[in-house]
């Protein structure tokens, strides 16, 4: 999303932003009231995060008690049966595999586009294309899902046939078919969806490279690629890592596009081509309509796991950004 920004806003050391000490003792305590109101609004964020964890845990516990299999290691999902048997293993596996594959495909391309926009393309062209990429980040995921299901499945089936015929000896391409709603399709669609986000975040990072460093590299006779390798990439490394982690957070939580493109099969398999794959988020969307109270609670339990995973990823990403911000603040 274009709103997520890695740019560093200085914490108002001079001039812009923030007020200092003030004339005290305003009438009617309006000043105090406004201050309390603002503080309360700011604290809402903390309240919501805590409330999410609290309510998900509270609503997940009944099904976890009722589950007659191990929630963490069981692969199938029969949460509506009595006794209910369900587990997160296949779903967590599918979530991690599709997200990882999507990032493996998207990140090099996204970095290439970001470099192209910042250091290769003409400035006017670059700003127009940058605008276009920001627009793509706003396209709803259901549209990508629909495209993946209705249109892109054909080309990916052809690609699967090609991969199997030529590289079938590699286990991940071993499936003989039928091809269609596969992990390959899901992760390519996911890669296309995280591409604009990673691109626009890393573009901002690359734009921040100090001009002096770039010019110094060029003045020493570096080619453009050597300048990028010695000046741009090392400087942007923490920012790139953060951008990738934020992209990962987005990929892990993606629901609808994967609900429409994956095979919704509960298995743990590295076969990319056959009809297979499911993720925590997609499973929630697919199973919600038919869930009874225990089934609903089981889905909430799986959502709790997803919440925990994305929380860890996001906190790590933000910690990297914040460390970098301090580092930049010291250097600037």
């Amino acid at each position: 999303m274009s709103q997520q920004s890695l740019t560093t806003t200085p914490a108002s050391p001079s001039g812009a932003g923030g007020g200092g000490a003030l004339p005290r003792g305003s009438r009617f305590g309006a000043e105090r009231a406004f201050r309390i109101l603002a503080t309360a609004a700011g604290s809402t964020v903390l309240v919501i995060i805590v409330a999410i964890a609290a309510f998900l845990i509270a609503k997940a516990i009944p099904s976890l008690r009722a589950d007659s299999e191990n929630f963490l290691t069981f692969k199938d999902w029969f949460a509506n049966e009595s006794p209910p048997t369900f587990g997160i293993a296949a779903l967590a596996f599918g979530t991690v595999v599709t997200s990882a594959l999507a990032l493996i495909m998207a990140v090099p391309v996204a970095l290439g586009i970001a470099l192209c926009l910042t250091h290769y393309a003409h400035r006017r062209v670059a700003s127009t294309l940058g605008f276009f990429i920001d627009l793509l980040a706003a396209v709803p995921s259901v549209v990508f899902g629909l495209w993946g299901r209705d249109y892109f499945r054909g080309p990916v089936s052809d690609l699967s046939t090609f991969l199997h015929d030529n590289f079938g000896w590699i286990p991940i391409f071993g499936s003989k078919g039928p091809y269609g709603a596969s992990i390959l399709l899901g992760s390519i669609v996911l890669a296309i969806m995280v591409l604009p986000i990673v691109t626009s975040l890393s573009r901002e990072v690359f734009l921040q490279t100090p001009k002096h460093n770039e010019e110094a590299a060029l003045a020493l006779g570096a080619t453009r690629w050597e300048m990028i390798r010695t000046a741009v990439l090392p400087y942007g490394k923490p920012g790139i890592i953060a951008a990738v982690m934020l992209g990962l957070g987005r990929a892990l939580g993606e629901t609808i596009a994967l609900a429409l493109t994956l095979g919704a099969v509960y298995n743990v398999s590295f076969d990319l081509l056959g009809i297979s794959g499911n993720t925590i988020a997609a499973n929630i969307a697919l199973k919600f309509a038919e869930a009874n109270p225990t089934g609903r609670s089981a889905l909430i339990a799986s959502g709790l796991v997803l919440f925990a995973i994305t929380l860890v990823v996001n906190v790590t990403a933000r910690a990297i950004v914040y460390r970098r911000r301090e580092f930049l603040g010291g250097a600037a």
Partner: protein, 357 residues
């Protein structure tokens, strides 16, 4: 001794040997030709395989040629340049395909009838029905979510920028950023667990009430951090001299904020809000969980299920009927037009924003 005679004697030239300007184009043409011959003669594949093989041949050919003529460093530079542009083309292809499919398939059904009727009494196998009920749902849900989040988000940003000091402010800033990464399905589950299953039964004779309002609450959870973040950045751009001028005139801080700081930052704040609304309009997952959907028109967001455009697209995409894809694409096009016009309007507003320049 002149430079010319010196260089002539020791064979030192100041100019490195370079490939002529047409070399990349020439290598490209040769690569396409060889790839086409290699692919089509044995009948191994079509245009896609040809372009992949041609791209690889181009990279290898240009790299080898450049290594021989210009040396390794220049060759690596050329290969890197080609790869960067290749990344661009590679990414553009699927994105253009999405846009093209959307416009061609979406426009087939998109007309006044489609926008004006609901799906009430329409079976999946009828060649009729429309998205009116879904448009109502999207607008109401996004509207209520905006009403909730704008005051909360703007005040929260005011706290962070104008009042926040110490650990609480740092904690809130950090968790605003973390909250932008919460998956939409988790926001939906939270409102399901909190509002639909716990709070709403109190007003509905003990039965959980799925409603458009619940969807609006879930969208609020997603919009809040975005709005806080963008407002925060805008407030920081307001010059400190404006605040100091107000203080010097004896104006209390809260009046300075409401009468001077916020109006100055208003265009930027509106841009941020519009981007957040655009994103919220496209969310599907929370709506599935807490609004359930409804084939009929339901203007009341507080009672009974409600649909939304994105939910409608999802439902139709999962329906096995030859008329369902047409409805899905038409609704998807409507949704994208809505979302993109909001986004473009926001970006244009941002370009005219004097603070951000």
């Amino acid at each position: 001794m002149s430079v010319a005679s010196h260089s002539a004697r020791s064979r030192v030239t100041l100019k490195a040997r370079r490939l002529p300007g047409w070399a990349p184009a020439g290598v490209g043409a040769a690569a396409i030709l060889i790839a086409a011959l290699a692919v089509y003669l044995p009948g191994a594949g079509g245009p896609v395989l040809t372009s992949v093989v041609a791209a690889l041949l181009f990279l290898v050919g240009l790299g080898a040629l450049s290594t021989v003529v210009e040396g390794g460093r220049a060759a690596r530079n050329r290969v890197a340049t080609s790869l960067v542009y290749a990344a661009f083309v590679l990414a553009l292809a699927p994105l253009l395909s999405v846009a093209l499919t959307l416009v061609t398939k979406g426009s087939e059904r998109l007309n006044g009838y489609f926008l004006g009727v609901s799906m009430k009494g329409v079976s999946a196998f009828d060649n009729k029905g429309g998205a009116y009920h879904a448009i109502i749902g999207t607008l109401e849900q996004a509207g209520i979510a905006t009403l909730i989040t704008v005051p909360l988000g703007v005040l929260g940003a005011v706290y962070i920028v104008e009042y926040g000091r110490g650990r609480l402010a740092a904690l809130i800033r950090f968790f605003v950023d973390v909250m932008t990464g919460i998956p939409s399905i988790v926001a939906g589950l939270f409102i399901l667990a909190f509002w639909v299953l716990v709070v709403s039964p109190m007003f509905n004779n003990g039965r959980p009430e799925y409603s458009g309002f619940a969807a609006a609450l879930a969208l609020s959870v997603l919009m809040l951090p975005t709005i806080v973040r963008s407002t925060e950045e805008m407030l920081r751009l307001v010059p400190g001299a404006l605040r100091e001028g107000a203080y010097a005139l004896g104006i209390p801080k809260w009046k300075t904020i409401t009468k001077i700081v916020l109006p100055t930052a208003a265009p930027g704040i509106v841009t941020g809000v519009m981007l957040a609304v655009a994103r919220a309009c496209g969310e599907t997952a929370p709506v599935i969980l807490v609004a359930l959907g409804n084939p009929a028109i339901n203007f009341n967001p507080f009672s009974g299920g409600q649909s939304s455009l994105s939910l409608y697209v999802y439902e139709q995409a999962g329906t096995a009927s030859k008329y369902a894809p047409g409805r899905a694409w038409a609704a998807a096009l409507t949704l994208v037009v809505l979302v993109l016009s909001l986004t473009v309007a926001a970006k244009l507003l941002a370009r005219r924003n004097k603070l951000a320049r």
